[in-house]
């Protein structure tokens, strides 16, 4: 107890204080050394941990951001663009119906585990996925396979879609042929997905045995997908370590890469869950770059000399209307009144990051199928007032749902966007009852079920095909919208049947015009999810699909 004599007590307090300062200063020095000394490690912060290191099991951007550096698919999008180009396949072609796809594969490509890449490897992968059993058939695990290729060899659940995949045959060492039953709008785009990236067949064998179990009451990802070293792709980096405790995935340069080698030796992905957290980490020099920059930060970071390249837009933010939730919305005048009441310009001007665009149809202008001559509904409060009068809905009351605790690439700050729109609608004399819900699952479920009169939602494209946008909403009756309109449905589905890309494009343009004529909801905007890098970084070509390949990155 003696230590509590007043003098020592002071001493202790002092010591603590000094300690804090000391650590402080020392750390400052560390920081300096780092920035001055030549760096061979690039640290990039995302918003969430990857779910697994096997992209085939994933459906989220955070996972693909990591795996994209280590795995490559048959097709890719051009660096920084949305055009489909050869990936592991140098060229590809299909028959007229678009049911038989032939890929001429790249030669002397090696997997990280030394295996050689060839047609057999490709087929091994596709057959592996096609023959998935048990929990692998849950859409929580194999979401993308099911969207692109339908079900499996043996479906175990009646609600699993019927398989569209037929076969994969290795015509010769470097020619793989993939056949599907029916033509699909998801092809060839789907071949570019990370989820369908090619693994080393050896690795596949390794972990084929491992079962993803649903024991207990959750799907357990197989062990291999949780540790570095098991999975092996052909990418410019290979995954060397996943330190979950520190939320950190480390990759190192793959020196036998077939293409241009990575410029920086080590690549590290870390997780910082909050926007300001990531920004502060960058400003504090703890990281070299991060994704999902809050719009508010873009200009500031630029002004402070950080590198903030602008991505092209590849998403769409819209206000959805559920006609079954509120009968008034069945009237076109009402829908139009709402459309004209909202000041999109202002939203984009004050809320979206640099490069944000006002949307006039359910598709960003970067997608093939975007139509220049859709019906427009310009902002005009007076007009919407009169429309409401015409519809006899002067006292229109709507429940407007918005999500909390989430930022999506297409809606940076949902609550703020909501408040602005609410104010607009009220100006037009519409009474708005706000309804906030947690993003998952409350909000998702509510919108799925179409239980809100109005809601705000959006979509980020997986690959460059219009159907990937309009198809998700208007291919048929959907509770979210709660309307049946043959004209629209037919127009939308027309495109998906066609094998030839240019024919499709034309069809999609028609579809867009039909949709905007009917006006099921209000497309608001497309915004580029901002990405930022430290001052001393030459960033990679930023991609509208957020498919950056960091092997292009280098330090100044």
């Amino acid at each position: 107890m003696r230590i509590f004599k007043s003098r020592p007590a002071r001493a202790i307090t002092a010591a603590v204080a000094v300690g804090l300062i000391a650590t402080g200063c020392s750390s400052e020095r560390d920081a300096d050394n780092e920035s001055s000394g030549k760096k061979d490690t690039f640290v990039f912060a995302g918003a969430g941990d990857p779910g697994s290191l096997d992209p085939a099991l994933a459906s989220d951007g955070e996972t693909f951001r990591v795996t994209r550096q280590a795995f490559e698919a048959l097709l890719e999008h051009e660096s920084g663009g949305t055009k489909l180009v050869g990936g592991l396949a140098e060229t590809w072609s299909s028959n007229d119906q678009g049911t038989v796809w032939t890929f001429n594969l790249r030669k002397n490509v090696k997997f990280h585990d030394g295996e050689a890449f060839n047609a057999a490897a490709v087929c091994a992968n596709y057959d592996h996925w096609f023959n998935w059993k048990g929990t692998y058939q849950s859409s929580a695990v194999s979401y993308y396979w099911q969207t692109i290729m339908g079900g499996f060899a043996k479906n175990e659940d009646e609600e699993t879609p019927e398989a569209n995949y037929k076969s994969c045959t290795a015509k010769d060492e470097n020619t793989a042929v993939i056949e599907v039953k029916k033509p699909s709008a998801n092809l060839p785009g789907g071949f570019s997905l990370q989820a369908l990236a090619i693994h080393s067949p050896k690795a596949l064998k390794e972990y084929e045995k491992e079962e993803a179990t649903a024991k207990g009451d959750a799907i357990t990802y197989p062990k291999y997908s949780q540790e570095a070293g098991t999975v092996a792709g052909t990418g410019p980096y290979k995954i060397t370590k996943w330190n979950k405790g520190n939320k950190e995935v480390s990759l190192t340069r793959f020196d036998d890469y077939w293409g241009e080698k990575a410029k920086i030796k080590n690549l590290v992905f870390r997780t910082i869950d909050t926007e300001e957290g990531r920004r502060q980490a960058l400003q504090a020099g703890d990281i070299d770059g991060y994704d999902l920059v809050a719009p508010a930060d873009v200009k500031t970071l630029e002004d402070q000399g950080y590198v903030v390249p602008t991505r092209g837009v590849f998403n769409l933010f819209y206000v959805g209307m559920s006609q079954e939730a509120n009968k008034a919305l069945k009237k076109k005048e009402v829908r139009q009144a709402i459309a004209q009441a909202i000041d999109k310009e202002n939203l984009v001007k004050t809320q979206l990051p640099e490069g944000g665009k006002v949307a006039d149809q359910f598709m960003p202008d970067t997608i093939a199928g975007y139509s220049k001559n859709v019906k427009k509904y310009p902002f005009d409060t007076a007009a919407s007032k009169s429309l409401l009068k015409k519809a006899g809905e002067e006292k229109l009351k709507v429940e407007f749902c918005y999500p909390t605790e989430v930022t999506r690439p297409y809606m940076p700050a949902p609550q703020d966007l909501f408040e602005l729109m609410k104010a607009d609608l009220e100006k037009a004399g519409i009474t708005v009852t706000p309804k906030a819900m947690k993003w998952a699952p409350d909000y998702i479920d509510a919108t799925e079920a179409g239980s809100c009169d109005l809601h705000m939602l959006g979509w980020t494209g997986d690959f460059n095909d219009g159907f990937n946008f309009i198809g998700t909403w208007f291919a048929g009756y959907d509770k979210q919208w709660g309307f049946k309109d043959k004209k629209v449905f037919d127009a939308v589905n027309a495109g998906s049947k066609l094998g030839k890309a240019e024919e499709r494009t034309a069809a999609y343009e028609k579809a867009n015009e039909a949709i905007m004529e009917y006006l099921p909801g209000v497309p608001i905007s497309s915004s580029p999810p901002a990405i930022a890098f430290a001052k001393n970084v030459n960033p990679p070509n930023v991609s509208p699909l957020t498919q950056e390949v960091f092997s292009e990155t280098s330090f100044k």
Binding site: T350, E419, L420, A423, A436
Partner: protein, 319 residues
């Protein structure tokens, strides 16, 4: 000796004695009040609270602008980190949607106070009931009473074992977002605290001689509890209630920070305002500082008063 001298002797004596009369047997509460009057803490606390209440009541009428109207929306660019600070017409500047911060602060006071009071009431009432039951059972319930009490206490332990914030968040998760949710969530967290306090106090009182006396005189148990034990067990509960007002306001802010706050953003509430402002903390710090300071000062007010009361009611513990 003569009668005359005797009487005026007595009078003389009387007036002299009067001078050095020492007051005896003032009630605990009167004494406490006396001590409160002299305690600086109490005075500061009371003043703060008074001011806060006044603002909460008349604030909305004094607000120079509508708290929800985005009058200056064109002048604020959250996406460029451009904000408008204090200026002539907007004393506290604008928020991220071009609304008058000062007006929002004024109007927000009422919401904040409302949350604090209602939440505390919920906790108080519920905790009170539980407390009385188990307290009474424990003191006068005999064998079975003891058992009842211990069961209730297990339950209370359980609630206490959950970190308060998690408990609140869980409740909010079930009930979905609304002002009521926040109040209930924050209130429930207080329940075990009150229950325990009251029970404890009642146990102490239950052992006191006057209770034994009353029992031996055959006074009915309900009467003993209600008219004897309870009144004497109240003081700690009242103190706790005052302190809870502070914690309630802070917890409410925390819930807002976790995104479970009042869903209608048009109705300003300090906690929500603070939670929203933190995104722009580097650009418009004041946007967060105003509500934060508001919360801190208010909480401080209740804490000061509460602590002062505690000290006043418990002379042993001198602050």
């Amino acid at each position: 000796m003569s009668v005359a001298t005797k009487t005026d002797k007595i009078q003389r004596l009387a007036e002299l004695t009067a001078g050095s009369e020492t007051s005896t047997g003032a009630s605990l509460w009167r004494e406490a009040l006396g001590r409160l009057k002299t305690s600086k803490m109490a005075i500061i606390g009371a003043v703060i609270i008074a001011a806060f209440v006044v603002v909460a009541i008349v604030g909305p009428f004094l607000a120079p602008h509508s708290p929800s109207a985005q009058i200056w929306r064109g002048e604020v660019f959250p996406n460029k980190g451009e904000f408008v600070g204090a200026r002539g017409e907007n004393w506290f500047g604008l928020d991220h949607l071009g609304r008058d911060l000062f007006s929002r602060m004024l109007v927000g006071a009422r919401q904040t106070l409302l949350v604090g009071i209602v939440a505390t009431l919920i906790g108080l009432v519920a905790g009170f009931v539980i407390g009385i039951v188990s307290g009474a059972a424990a003191t006068l319930g005999g064998e079975t009473g003891q058992r009842v009490d211990s069961v209730i206490m297990r339950f209370i332990d359980m609630m206490l074992a959950l970190p308060s914030l998690l408990l609140a968040v869980s409740i909010a998760a079930v009930m979905g977002q609304s002002l009521t949710t926040v109040m209930i969530a924050v209130g429930v967290v207080q329940v075990p605290v009150f229950a325990r306090l009251l029970r404890g106090a009642m146990l102490v009182q239950g052992g006191a001689d006057y209770v034994l006396a009353a029992q031996s005189l055959g006074v009915r148990k309900r009467r003993i509890v209600l008219s004897q034990i309870l009144p004497n067990s109240l003081s700690p509960v009242i103190v706790q209630a005052t302190l809870s007002l502070a914690t309630a306001i802070i917890e409410a802010a925390a819930l807002s920070y976790l995104g479970l706050g009042n869903p209608d953003p048009a109705i300003p509430e300090w906690g929500v305002m603070l939670a929203q402002a933190q995104r722009f903390f580097s650009y418009a710090p004041m946007m967060g500082v105003y509500p934060a300071v508001g919360i801190i000062i208010t909480a401080l007010g209740f804490t000061l008063l509460g602590e002062a009361m505690r000290e006043a009611l418990d002379p042993k513990l001198k602050g």
